[in-house]
Amino acid sequence: MARRKKLVRYLGYALAATLLAFAAFALHLDFRVRSEFEGRRFALPARIYARPLELHAGLRIAQADVEDELRQLGYREGAREGELGWFARGSERLDIALRPFVFWDGPQPAKRISVAFEAGAVTAVREAAGGELSLARLEPLPIGGIYPAGNEDRVLVRLAEVPPHLVQALLATEDRKFFSHLGFDVRGLARAALSLASGRMQGGSTLTQQLVKNFFLTPERTLQRKLTELVMAVLLELHYDKSEILETYLNEIYLGQDRDRAIHGVGLAAQFYFGKDVQHLTLAEAATLVGMVKGPAHYDPYRHAARTLERRNLVLRETREQGAITMAQYAAARAAPLGVSRKLGTGTSPYPAFVNLVHRQLRRDYDEADLRSEGLHIFTTLDPRVQEAAERALTKRLAQFDKERRFGAPGLEGAVVVTDPQNGEVQALVGGRDVRYRGYNRAVDAARPVGSLLKPAIYLTALAEPSRYTLLTPIDDGPFVWKSRGAPDWQPANYDKKFHGTVPLRVALAQSYNVAAARLGTELGVERVLANVRKLGVERELRPFASTLLGAVELSPLEVAQMYQTIAAGGFRSPLRAIREVTTQEGRPLQRYALAVEQAFAPEPMYLLSAAMQDVVREGTAQGLKRFLPAELGVAGKTGTTDEQRDAWFAGFTGDRLAVVWIGYDDNRAARLTGAAAALPVWGEMMAALAPEPLAFPKPERVEHVWIDPQTGLRGGTSCAGAVELPFIEGSAPQERAPCSGAIDEAVEAIDATVEKAKSWLERLFGR
């Protein structure tokens, strides 16, 4: 008797202890659910956009290029009345239904526009109503993001934005009693218990349980975890109402993989699979997404279209059975094709090198954690058309070089930077031949010897002294030894191992003679030249040795672009920028990276230098460019080749673009590379694809053009064989006339002077 009593008492204790333990466990879970669910905001990646394409009358762009950009934006071809995001092609005309977009300077509403083209240019932009538009801005192409852990990507949506048929299909398929249960479903639990007997936990999860599982728990399948999930689901239901739980579920749910990027939530899935916002999903499209919830890899509409279609139709049938849709809706949706948009398959970014540069520039001003969670919108300077041309030229040429083994064994690498010389915006950046590889970014991180690329700084330093140096000043390219204390003698040699005697300054640059450049540079003073290199925008420390002048200094392609940008802009230095604006997720402007300009050099010597750099292309080491571009463009540039031909460079500019190309091996091995043979073809092919504008440097008032007889270096005219017209800073041109110059040349000069005067007189009279 006493024994039985004792047993009952012990059992009572045990029960109490168990209940207490369970209460403590529940309390702990309750705390977790509330603190984590409440505190949990979805981490949203910073979203990075390319430059928006701005269409206006006079813009030089082919209709096909605009169509390409629209396709990349997910616009569909063919008119769809009442819908947004399509374009229809007419003869020399495009009708576009623009989607709304929130730009840095405010929201732009949806709009129907019509764009007229003629001969590779836009002639007019009109509203559908007929009124002329001065400017129409397409939405910018998303080019990647800065992602939270796991590269989770999502676009948050409110429950009210989600079409009811999506919710109905979801509940019909995944959780029919969602609105009545308490977080778990008794029948589901029974099924789960049965399956426990077979050794594997599965099935029977309500939406609430699925959410708990994704939110708080690891994916292992044990009894304890199942129990925890159950308790947490009930707790979640106690604290939050159904619509909050449903909205969170819709934003959390995993719906597939885009390379290394995880697609979460119906908002992003709608954009990724169907190129539209969630509110515009049709019933059939919504059913496809709902079908994928069960297993996005198994029901991948790109890889397993038939299986996904079957699954979609099952979802539709279940939705129909629940009476959520009519028979007519069901039949129409069933008959619809899958209709997924063209897969771009770009992963976290199609342009990893450029995004990497953007990320670096952002880190100066933003906290890394904010970049990965606050959903900032980053508007950049990338021009997808330029980027594509750069990628194509580099990959194609490198493949060809490898095949021919022209410069050495296969495995050559390269990098390209393209900027707008007028404002320093980076339009394209290629970090290596595997253009989608997110790793070593050679355009920014590969510092390589620059060879002759520093020479323009030597000649610029000289030309800034018009009393001593003009483009015609004879420079000695005879044997030269540089002695300095504490350093071994330096004896530069020319590429062809020859000396060329005395040559005019512009020839020394055009032919890239090392000895002449070394002699001139040391005459001017190494420190003075290096000071100008810094003024051109090179911030890296430069060793004050004479050999530095001939390129014994390592720079990245981006640093070279910064230096040449100052030359291309006529002496105005602008820091290279990859970002224009940053806004919050809602579109509130946070920061603008404005155009900054600093006059680093007087315009006159810059004008002379660029004329000399045009000679590099016209008659010097970069003559090969003729194969790609017409001479009338007047491209200016400089080739660079380094010791033992390890690196090949070409840096040059047209009227509207500046580009730097580097080619070499990652292990820095000796090769047979030259700037002219390896880097220049990439540059030329890329630029040819972009139809560049001719170089038109503004002539400073204090510069005059004079015809020169190349034999004597004196004033000549067309009666002198091979006469060239050269710029001189006022007062520095030769006065004496060459013997070959006849009276007719003098007369031409006089008339030219008269016309010049008349022109400036007219300009003054009528203004500009």
Binding site: G58, S134, N423, F572, I744, A750, I751, T754, A758, E763
Partner: protein, 133 residues
């Protein structure tokens, strides 16, 4: 054309045509004066926006519009000047000075534009408390 003229000049033995002949009739046709170039309506529209923004005190927006316009017409000295003026009002004197100099680079023989640039540069220097360079 100019060679034909030179020949004519030689034939008539007057190689000293020094006086400017303002009537462009017989002279070799100079490039059409820039004023005749049809103004880009996109640029004109953005310039208008910028002016409205300046009037409303939205200087940062004005600068953004001008930068947009400069992407379309980087060689338009009026846009560079307008941007210089905005920077002056924003108190960014060094920028104002450099931008006015940039405007000068494209100003050609437009003396009115040059004079205004000189005024902006002088004002920027004065306001920044510097005396000359």
């Amino acid at each position: 054309m100019r060679y034909a003229l030179a020949l004519v000049a030689l034939l008539f033995g007057c190689t000293t045509v020094q006086e400017p002949t303002p009537t462009p009739e017989p002279a070799p046709a100079p490039a059409p004066p820039p004023a005749q170039r049809p103004e880009n309506i996109a640029v004109a529209g953005l310039m208008e926006n910028a002016r409205a923004d300046v009037a409303a005190g939205r200087l940062s927006n004005a600068a953004a519009s001008l930068e947009r316009a400069l992407r379309i017409e980087p060689r338009n000295p009026r846009l560079w000047q307008e941007l210089a003026r905005v920077r002056l009002r924003q108190g960014q004197y060094a920028q104002a000075e450099s931008l006015a100099a940039r405007s000068n680079a494209w100003a050609g023989g437009d003396s009115a534009l040059r004079a205004e640039n000189a005024r902006i540069i002088a004002e920027a220097r004065e306001l920044s408390g510097r005396s000359g360079r």
